[in-house]
């Protein structure tokens, strides 16, 4: 039925039709709903039916477990902080759903609006790169983020992070992380500290004295107070399940791993990057264990992989095929350094309790250099082999 409707209105968008100016907008929606049936007419091309739109949809599906759990957790944390521990799962989920939905809507409306506007202005096809970014942005925001700030951050990320470089596939930095970085530096009080991770806490709806700090903030605080051991109020089990305060989608290790399994099974994300990010973080943690100057450095290395946005960043952000390294060896180096630097920032710089965002953005910028040297090394090696063979 939908197909028929689209076919019926299609002539109006083609050349000479009434809405021919909106051609690219129409095209975007049509190909989003159905795989285009245009066939290459000359030459022989081998093409997979999985193109960009289908790829993006799989990533969105992989994000769903973390998102759904995030919604539940928003409710859970809220009711816990209010002192109402006996709420059912559905009540928690319902509360979280209505808290998170507006952020998702704002992110998509603003981001897609700008993408469509640019596509119309520049007369090219609408790229669907924002499908994933638009879902990632709400998941790395605190639940109490004011909606207009989400809108401004999204607009900044799409315009400055993506459109000025030429749109989807040309961007240097991960747009979703750029939105978070903008928010982090522009509106710092709304995205860091102890009050913003639980819905309604800033407005004073919670029990007095309830701490809304994330485990990483608690650790940073214990270090700042020079406490002999780390005061963490949650357990490893909580971190794996994800019932801790934090950004909407980042808390649950299990949900993120389900997403990772989907991405790896469909072959969309690079296992090289994912694996090496975890390896880098773990080895850096071990290195700090060996140095052991304060309680934070002595913390078991695997804690780092479970806490904060480490897993989320490793699975969904570092593996972004556009901003990451392209070469096989480069991917190992790139991932390893991201993991190592994330832990380094966390432990050494008390100003940033969470290092994953800065680390990924930094190595987004470094990825082309890594690739360059990998390619150069390959050329040198093959040159040597050539010389040996011709001697």
């Amino acid at each position: 039925m939908l197909r028929k409707y689209i076919d019926k209105i299609k002539p109006q968008f083609e050349e000479g039709g009434r809405f021919s100016k909106l051609h690219s907008t129409f095209d975007a929606f049509e190909t989003f709903l159905y795989v285009p049936n245009t066939v290459t007419k000359s030459g022989s091309h081998i093409r997979d039916v999985i193109e960009l739109k289908r790829t993006m949809s799989v990533v969105v599906i992989a994000l769903l477990p973390a998102l759904l759990f995030g919604m539940y957790n928003v409710g859970l944390q809220h009711f816990r902080a209010m002192g109402m521990a006996d709420m059912s799962v559905m009540e928690c989920f319902g509360f979280g759903f209505w808290k998170v939905l507006p952020i998702i809507v704002v992110s998509y409306v603003v981001g897609l609006g700008i993408e469509f506007a640019f596509a119309q202005m520049r007369g090219h096809e609408v790229n669907e790169g924002f499908l994933v970014s638009g879902m990632l942005i709400p998941m790395i925001m605190p639940v109490d983020a004011p909606l207009w700030m989400v809108a401004v951050s999204t607009a900044f990320a799409v315009i400055i992070g993506k459109e000025v470089f030429g749109g989807t596939g040309m961007n240097v930095f991960n747009p979703a992380l750029l939105a978070r970085a903008f928010m982090f530096f522009a509106y710092t009080p709304y995205i860091s500290g102890e009050k913003i991770w639980i819905a309604g806490m800033n407005a004073g709806q919670t029990v007095d004295g309830y701490s809304g700090a994330t485990p990483l903030t608690e650790i940073a605080n214990s270090i700042a107070e020079k406490a002999p051991s780390l005061n963490i109020s949650s357990s490893v089990c909580d971190w794996i399940v994800g019932t801790i305060p934090g950004c909407i989608g980042e808390t649950s290790f299990i949900a993120i791993m389900i997403g990772a399994a989907i991405l790896l099974f469909t072959g969309i994300a690079s296992w090289r990057i994912m694996l090496s990010v975890f390896a880098g973080g773990y080895l850096m943690g071990l290195l700090f264990n060996a140095i052991g100057l304060n309680a934070y450095m002595d913390m078991p290395a695997y804690y780092h992989l479970l806490l904060g946005g480490f897993a989320f960043g490793a699975v969904f952000m570092a593996t972004d095929p556009v901003t990451g390294s392209q070469t096989g060896t480069g991917k190992f180096i790139y991932g390893f350094l991201i993991g190592a630097f994330a832990v380094l920032i966390r432990v050494v710089n008390p100003g940033y309790p969470e290092g994953m965002m800065l680390s990924i953005l930094f190595f987004n910028a470094m990825a082309p250099i890594i690739d360059h040297y990998v390619v150069e090394a390959n050329i040198r090696r093959r040159n040597r082999r050539l010389k040996k063979a011709t001697k």
């Binding site: 401004v152 400055i160 530096f185 522009a186």
Partner: protein, 206 residues
């Protein structure tokens, strides 16, 4: 005296050959002093004065300077002017002078000043050289003032130190943009100005 050709010297740097947006000179100070409008304005004025008089003096001296030592002579003249400007600022607007701190002294290394002397003053008569200096100073100053205005308005909610965004906005959840006060955002703002400039002036695009 104000022939069409001379007027071009004055107006060209404001648009088609703007020192910041087209020649990409003097970026460092444009990022460093524009967090507030007032220092940006004073800085713009100082650079205009230095560029104009350095151009004038060196254009007068141009026939007498052996070309081998011309850079040293230029530096002496520019340094003398910068010291004068610095002293005047300290005497009359001490607060701003403190905010600008080292950047007044660093006018001496501002690429625009040396660039205009080398490119224009040493080959032209004093009056056109003077106009060229003023034009380039104003072209630089214009961008500084725009940056200072935008950054102070969005970053601190004030303009020239006066609060312009009413308290009721803050009560309704508006918040100042802290990133605007940091130099990276100034660079992005310069980029946006260049973007707007080039989309109006197509022949500047490479």
């Amino acid at each position: 005296m104000f022939s069409a050709k001379n007027m071009k010297l004055l107006t060209n740097p404001l648009g088609a050959s703007n020192p910041i947006t087209v020649q990409i000179l003097g970026i460092c100070s444009a990022l460093a002093v524009t967090a507030k409008l007032q220092p940006a304005f004073v800085m713009a004025l100082s650079v205009t004065v230095v560029t104009a008089f350095a151009n004038l003096i060196l254009s007068l001296l141009r026939k007498g300077i052996p070309s081998r030592i011309r850079i040293i002579v230029q530096l002496v003249v520019v340094a003398a002017l910068v010291i004068l400007v610095d002293q005047v600022l300290k005497a009359f607007v001490y607060d701003v002078s403190k905010q600008l701190s080292v950047f007044v002294g660093l006018i001496i290394t501002n690429c625009i000043v040396m660039g205009r002397i080398e490119a224009f003053a040493l080959g032209n008569k004093p009056w056109p050289a003077f106009l060229d200096g003023i034009g380039n100073g104003l072209g630089y100053g214009m961008i500084l003032v725009i940056l200072g205005f935008v950054r102070e308005l969005l970053g601190a909610g004030t303009v020239w130190g006066y609060r312009v965004i009413p308290e009721s906005f803050y009560a309704h959840g508006y918040s100042n943009n802290g990133l605007m006060l940091l130099p990276p955002m100034a660079l992005i703002c310069v980029g946006i100005i260049i973007w707007i400039h080039r989309s109006h002036n197509r022949n500047l695009c490479e």
